[in-house]
Symmetry: C2
Subunit: 302 residues, 2 copies
């Protein structure tokens, strides 16, 4: 099977891990991408692995590691330990992919509850610290068979969440490491605007680093909490047909995860959300993936 739909638990924040697994399975899904706080809630990765397996699902990703831009010895050490634990959790729940949100500027660390230096706005240095942290984490990732999946975030989050803003930049950062240890994810919301998107998706495929495809739409106006601007596929302005074809042509055949942070969607009945996302996926995304992968002839797409 290719292109199986996966529920990222950020889409259904009212559900605990057990409920999310149950809802996803009932909706016919085979994969789930849990966030770490759900794993902590059930008492750890062993228990989470059991819940996911007994629910008949597989973990497509673990969300998330990262936040590697801290400049002080203490924040660096805390980040290292947190990411080591995340690698072990990913391995335990059978998630090959640990999604990495690399972190923002020290001047903005307080926004997400961290500590930093209000005067440190040096984005070049922050990127370098990400590279150095990866150097430290890759041996453990290789040992556990986990891929650190660099996520380019939309540049509107460059200050507070990720100084990694393009797929090309993610691939440049990955180059120093084996493809089985450092990969990249294409998340449509974050990268749809990128003028180099087609060529960098192609490059990601050639370099064997394209290990996750996440879909959601880009809504306007941008939500008052900018993180909540992600939309259900079809509700916003992203051309899923084109990007999905590029992803499949680059050789991607894995699960496709839906991760939507959106107040309205997150607060509605999760079963409605799952039904809608399945329907939208099957009409707006899957046919284009399958066509480009040669699974169905072009004539099957209307």
């Amino acid at each position: 099977m290719s292109f199986e739909l996966s529920l990222n638990t950020g889409t259904t924040p009212k559900l605990n891990l057990h409920q999310a697994v149950e809802a996803a399975a009932r909706a016919g899904l085979t994969h789930i991408g849990p966030w770490r706080h759900l794993i902590e809630e059930v008492g750890g990765a062993q228990r989470a692995a059991t819940i996911i397996r007994e629910g008949g699902l597989q973990a497509s990703t673990l969300c998330r590691g990262g936040f590697l831009t801290g400049a002080s010895p203490r924040t660096k050490q805390e980040a290292l330990e947190s990411n080591q634990k995340a690698i072990e959790e990913a391995a335990t729940i059978g998630a090959r992919n640990l999604i990495m949100v690399v972190g923002g500027l020290p001047s903005a660390a307080h926004i997400l509850g961290g500590s930093g230096d209000p005067a440190d706005k040096d984005i070049v240095a922050a990127r370098d610290r990400v590279a150095r942290s990866l150097d430290q984490l890759v041996p453990l990732a290789l040992e556990h068979g986990v891929c650190l999946v660099l996520e380019a975030l939309h540049p509107m989050y460059a200050v507070d969440r990720a100084v990694l803003s393009t797929l090309g930049q993610a691939l440049d950062l990955a180059t120093a490491h084996p493809a089985e240890a450092v990969g990249v994810v294409v998340d449509t919301f974050h990268v749809f605007w990128d003028p180099q998107l087609q060529q960098q998706i192609q490059r990601a495929g050639l370099e064997r680093r394209l290990v996750s495809y996440q879909v959601c739409d880009f809504n306007l106006p941008i939500a008052s909490n900018a993180l909540q601007s992600r939309g259900m596929m079809g509700d916003g302005h992203i051309d899923f047909a084109t990007i999905s074809r590029w992803v499949a042509r680059a050789g991607y055949r894995g699960p496709v995860e839906v991760e939507i942070f959106n107040d309205e969607i997150n607060s509605q009945d999760p079963h409605l959300t799952l039904a809608t996302m399945s329907q939208r996926y099957e009409s707006l995304v899957l046919p284009h993936l399958e066509q480009a992968a040669g699974i169905h002839p072009a004539s099957a797409i209307n």
Copy 2:
């Protein structure tokens, strides 16, 4: 003189052209970058030219042309006519530079009061229409001695305002045309996040297309009206020292324009705004421009 401070009238929206010229001159500025509606208000470009000249100022830019992504014959024709008029206005007020905001997707045209096709989310095709429109406008720009200055906008505006999102993309688009007809602007708010920024600023200098430098900060949280997130230098998270050095090293020596859309700043006393922007410019931006340009030794910077 190099690096003279210029008031973009978007920073003082309560002032008409006469008032803005007077306030800028009183604050010791030598340049102004007017928006077109202020020119229309005074009865046209001839009268605006007189007001600017009699106020003792020069026009650094005219804001703005563009919105070239319309797909219907009618929207294309309207855009062509509007831009032809803008080129003539720029020439008349003595502005060498016409800032170009290229326009967004047809699916979002309604957001800015235009007309489009809600289903047309094809960003690749929209970019191609920008290129074709430039082909049409360049002869008139050359004839009038006006440079069409492509402005890469922050990717948060890719859908509704500009499918041109990076300086590299702007330079790629400019390549087909003479440097005196098509240039680029570095606006810190729009490009500070770009991992290729240093190399593309350098390239812009080498290709003799770096014709405008605009400064304002990137504030968080993003304002509820995303357009209003621009901040006074020093209030947000941009490293002006580094970017300013890159700009000066690339050979830029022209005026530096301050364009801030921000509810709080826009509604305060414009004289306070001008005083603050002058002070912030002189402490956070100018020393780094001058150092990199060799105008003052490094020891002058504290």
